[in-house]
């Protein structure tokens, strides 16, 4: 057998698990607002911003600020033992608000578990949002009401549900049965983190989306970390390139720039509505906080890195532009601050008032139709707990 050629000696450097030095091929993200808060011109994307009203521009700010306030409050609730866990979205507000503001309210969104700003934008209340984290119920909102699916923790699973939903859209059109409350040009958004892109399900979703030319927008928030693992462990090159592998377009955007996030999502969702098939956004942002309240980022990342990204804070950047461009004045910002102070107090109250789901209700929703084992066990538990109540009453009487 041949030895192949050219017969150069092996010189493979680095070992598995080492921090390799190869730099990913860089793709410049779309940016419309510089870190200094200046507007940059972009032939393709600027027009999407130009037509936004001052009110709309302020609304974007409002949701970003709301998320940040909620985030702080949730973190403190968790510290006080009132939440099982909290996963802050701190730093990702622009990416999320810009993107969701660009699609229709009738477009279904399949979030992962950190899309708090998107959830708020869709009218989900803080206590609905925190329900899962208080562990009183698995989910706090009705996905049908908000066209916003429940959070999915088994990473990337939801990207396949999104693909299935998109298959349903096409089927509806094909059979002229688009539901009344849906747009004729409906699309779906599948959210996913940089880490989760490594899962097989993310791939299978993209395969199905490409094969069936689905109206599906992938929204990758590359926040540089998957808990303690940097994005380069998931991908040597920019994640936006994954789309090329399946033959559809991907765009990399500065996720700390709410205007660029809005414009890119507008452009791509419009293309999808017009029949392009799937598209992908890699939104480059940063998880400014810990992965969750159970995490300790000092173990794996430098404070220099954190400082660097503090300087790129999406809210500060946007706020400075809003003011300088005259879209909002100090009065507006003060008003927003006041409003969210109230929101925080209300939220705390309503979160503390969340009742744990009754176990009977859990039994009743395992299936939608009767199931013998469930019924038997439910009845058993009722008897069993009633026995205790009796014992206690007896004890009470005896005592």
């Amino acid at each position: 057998m041949s030895d192949g050629r050219p017969a150069r000696r092996a010189s493979i450097s680095g070992a598995v698990g080492e921090d390799h030095t190869v730099q990913p091929e860089e793709v410049q993200p779309v940016q419309l607002l510089t870190p200094e808060g200046k507007l940059a011109e972009n032939e393709v994307y600027s027009p999407f911003i130009a037509e936004l009203s001052a009110e709309k521009l302020r609304e974007l700010y409002r949701y970003m600020a709301m998320e940040r306030r909620l985030d702080a409050e949730a973190t403190s609730l968790q510290r006080q033992g009132q939440l099982a866990l909290w996963a802050p979205a701190l730093g990702q507000e622009a990416a999320q608000v810009g993107t969701i503001a660009a699609i229709k309210s009738s477009d279904m969104v399949f979030p992962t578990y950190r899309e708090h700003a998107m959830a708020l934008y869709r009218g989900i209340s803080p206590e609905e949002l925190l329900t899962m984290f208080r562990a009183t119920r698995h989910t706090g909102w009705d996905p049908r009401e908000h066209n916003f699916h429940v959070y999915t923790l088994v990473l990337a699973s939801q990207t396949l549900h999104a693909a299935g939903w998109a298959m349903g859209i096409k089927q509806d059109r094909r059979t002229d049965s688009v539901p009344r409350d849906r747009a004729e040009d409906e699309i779906v958004v599948a959210c996913i983190g940089d880490g989760a892109t490594s899962q097989g399900d993310a791939h299978e979703s993209m395969v199905f989306a490409a094969s069936y030319e689905l109206p599906l927008l992938y929204f990758i928030q590359n926040n540089h970390w998957a808990i303690s693992v940097p994005t380069r462990t998931q991908s040597r090159g920019p994640l936006v390139n994954r789309a090329k592998g399946y033959g559809f377009e991907g765009v990399r955007v500065d996720g700390n720039d709410v205007l660029a996030s809005y414009a890119v999502a507008s452009k791509l969702s419009g293309d999808i509505r017009a029949g392009s098939g799937p598209k992908l956004i890699e939104s480059v942002t940063y998880r400014m906080g810990a992965h969750t309240t159970a995490d300790d980022p000092t173990k794996y990342r430098s404070s220099e890195e954190e400082e660097l990204w503090k300087g790129r804070d999406p809210i500060a950047r946007y706020r400075s532009w809003l003011s300088s461009a005259g879209h909002a004045d100090e009065g507006f910002f003060a008003e927003v601050d006041a409003e969210y102070k109230d929101l925080a107090a209300d939220m705390r109250k309503s979160v503390l008032a969340l009742e744990p789901i009754d176990l009977d209700r859990v039994f009743d929703t395992v299936y939608s139709e009767p199931h013998r084992q469930v019924e038997t066990e439910k009845a058993w538990l009722k008897d069993y707990e009633a026995g205790f109540a009796e014992e206690q009453t007896e004890a009470g009487t005896a005592g």
Binding site: L160, H161, A163, G164, E369, H371, R372
Partner: protein, 331 residues
């Protein structure tokens, strides 16, 4: 007047799929090779031609994708019937089935229904190669939120398939491959008994054999053989694995006082243990012997040149009956 037709099981399933596709626009089939080819077992033969490629969908080669997108379609109001080509290839979909499909209704507090049916041709005795003869039912039964059916004859296959599709819960139907060509009468107008109940197929007084799917004909033959030895065996077709109709099984066991449970799946950790434990709880003092199990061995399904020594057959069932009787003597 009822339309009773003689059909093989595979074609009874085809008929059920056709009837549901015709009855409800929202019913869709999805799977590998189910379109032009009609599936590797030809169960979907002709359906794509009849209902179109948008209702009988050839999928990319990805089981997690098949189940995951079925969940998404179901959320949107469709009733997808997913075919997994063979038992041994269901595992790439295991995560979607176990953590998503089974839980969706419960975790959304009943708000999201996912009426997905998964057709799973399963079991051995077809002389095939690796991964094509397995019986993974216990790996699904343990997970709450799934219903699991195992028809043993064309009539059940037809009606269980229809009932699975119209059920708002996820249902896995185990189709016993080795019985695809088993003939039987299908009454197209009068439903079989409730899919989720067990059924006494043959009355007897000395011992009960309870089993499901491919082994039901074997149990019936064993009962027939036992008659020669003047033993009267009752045969229970378990039919539904989740929910499990322990009531019917235990009633039979309490009556005959001896129970043998049989399945092709390995005994260790199989659903037979669950049945044995439940029946003992309900009928301990009636039983003259412990519930005995007949099943596969604790090994990967062997090369099929040896499957006859691995699979429960009439002799293995009768040996268990004998063993059950031996307990009485020693008592």
């Amino acid at each position: 007047m009822s339309a009773i037709k003689e059909m093989v099981m595979a074609k009874a399933i085809t008929a059920a799929l056709r009837d549901e596709l015709a009855a409800d626009q929202k019913t869709l089939l999805i799977g590998e090779d189910i379109g032009a080819l009609g599936g590797v077992f030809r169960v979907t033969e002709g359906l794509q031609a009849e209902f179109g490629p948008h209702r009988v969908i050839d999928s990319p080669l990805a089981e997690s994708g098949i189940v995951g997108t079925s969940i998404g379609m179901a959320m949107r109001g469709y009733r997808p019937v997913a075919e997994i080509q063979f038992d041994g290839f269901v595992f790439p979909a295991f995560n979607q089935i176990t953590t998503q499909l089974a839980k969706m209704h419960n975790r959304t507090d009943g708000r999201v229904k996912v009426p997905v049916t998964i057709r799973l041709p399963y079991g051995g005795h077809i002389g095939s190669i690796e991964h094509h003869s397995e019986s993974p039912e216990a790996l699904f039964a343990h997970t709450a939120g799934l219903r699991i059916l195992a028809p043993s004859n064309p009539q059940d296959a037809y009606w269980m398939t229809r009932q699975a599709i119209v059920s708002d819960d996820p249902v896995i139907i185990l189709e016993p491959k080795r019985r695809y060509w088993l003939k039987g009468k299908v009454d197209l107008d009068n439903p079989a008994p409730d899919a989720f109940r067990a059924q006494v197929l043959r009355e007897g007084t000395d011992a009960t054999i309870a089993t499901y799917g491919p082994l039901v004909p074997v149990a019936l033959a064993a009962a027939e053989a036992a008659r020669a030895e003047s033993r009267s065996i009752e045969v229970v077709d378990i039919r539904s694995i989740s929910p499990l109709d322990d009531e019917t099984i235990a009633r039979s066991a309490a009556k005959t006082q001896r129970l043998i449970v049989a399945h092709e799946a390995p005994t260790f950790g199989g659903i037979g243990g669950e049945i044995a434990a439940r029946v003992a709880e309900r009928a301990h003092h009636r039983l003259l012997a412990p519930v005995l199990r007949v099943g596969g061995f604790h090994m990967p399904y062997p090369p099929s040149a040896q499957e006859h020594r691995y699979l429960p057959d009439i002799d293995r069932m009768l040996e268990a009956v004998d063993r059950s009787f031996s307990y009485q003597r020693s008592a």
